[in-house]
């Protein structure tokens, strides 16, 4: 049986290798998923008699810190890919390692400094409409971050063995993982002002 086609070479009809078209289709579906939740937020906010100011309930310094963490992780992720383009696996491992550490830091802040203190004050999704949409949006986003940590850790560890046998295919895999990771960053760029500042 032949190997999976078009993992490196571009298809004649699309001009792209298959995974690149695949990830963009996936990201388009993700836009609609988060888009539906943003629409829900708009409905809930417009329909509420009183809507609390996010800044009065959430910590802006923590939200800003996590924004800086995710933006920095996007920069290190793109440098991980650039390192492979320069055929430098050592540098790739360093940048990918930084990306994973920053992603873990994001989750640690979210869980231990935001979620758990709120649970201790009995602020659960059922407490009010604001908390329901806050936990739904940030929780779904955090699940995406966890997914990214899993994929990136695999490519940092055992998955990097592919570099020895198929370097171009491995570089493409990191490009795909990067596109996903930048999307996760992009979603947070919108979540932060909507939930924390307004």
């Amino acid at each position: 049986m032949d190997a999976i086609p078009y993992t490196v070479k571009a298809r004649e009809d699309t001009g792209l290798y298959n995974a690149r078209l695949g990830i963009w289709l996936f990201l388009a579906s993700e836009v609609m998923l988060f888009g539906a939740l943003f629409a829900t937020y708009v409905i809930l906010r417009l329909g509420a008699l009183h809507w609390p100011l996010g800044a009065s309930l959430l910590s802006i310094p923590l939200g800003t810190f996590n924004t800086v963490v995710l933006i920095s992780s996007s920069v290190t992720m793109v440098f991980a890919w650039v390192s492979l383009k320069e055929k430098n696996l050592g540098k790739y491992k360093m940048y990918m390692g930084f990306t994973i550490i920053l992603a873990v830091l994001f989750i640690v802040v979210k869980l231990f400094l935001e979620y758990i203190p709120k649970f201790e004050h009995h602020l659960y999704p059922g407490k009010s409409t604001f908390w329901a949409i806050y936990f739904t949006l940030t929780g779904l986003h955090a699940l995406h971050v966890l997914g990214g940590i899993g994929v990136n850790t695999y490519f940092w560890g055992p998955g990097a063995n592919m570099w020895q046998s198929e370097p171009e295919r491995f570089t493409n895999r990191i490009e795909i993982a990067g596109l996903y990771w930048h999307f996760v960053d992009l979603v947070w760029i919108f979540l932060f002002p909507i939930l924390y500042l307004l």
Binding site: G47, V75, V82
Partner: protein
């Protein structure tokens, strides 16, 4: 090397815009204007991420068509949400 400088520049611009978003909140502009400015900055930040980190500027036409179709569907969805509100009786528009 040239690309590396570009990525660092975009990263710094994103951090600067984040600082700007937080600062604008302190200006007490009124909720409507604050939402508009915050979303404007977020959209600009998002387009920087998509254009440079995700290489959308140099992406193939098929991807541009795919994303424009998605954007269209998103606008339709938001439009339906807002139009739907007009069909609700005034007394039922707001919930406690």
């Amino acid at each position: 090397m040239k690309d590396s400088k570009k990525y660092v520049g975009v990263g710094l611009a994103l951090l600067l815009l984040t600082a700007m978003t937080v600062t604008v909140r302190r200006l007490h502009l009124g909720i409507a204007l604050a939402i508009f400015i915050a979303l404007l900055i977020a959209t600009f930040k998002g387009s920087l991420v998509a254009s440079f980190f995700m290489h959308l500027l140099s992406e193939r036409k098929i991807i541009h068509i795919l994303l424009l179709s998605t954007l269209f569907l998103f606008i339709v969805m938001m439009g339906l949400v807002l139009v739907g509100r007009l069909n609700v009786y005034e007394g039922l528009r707001h919930v406690p």
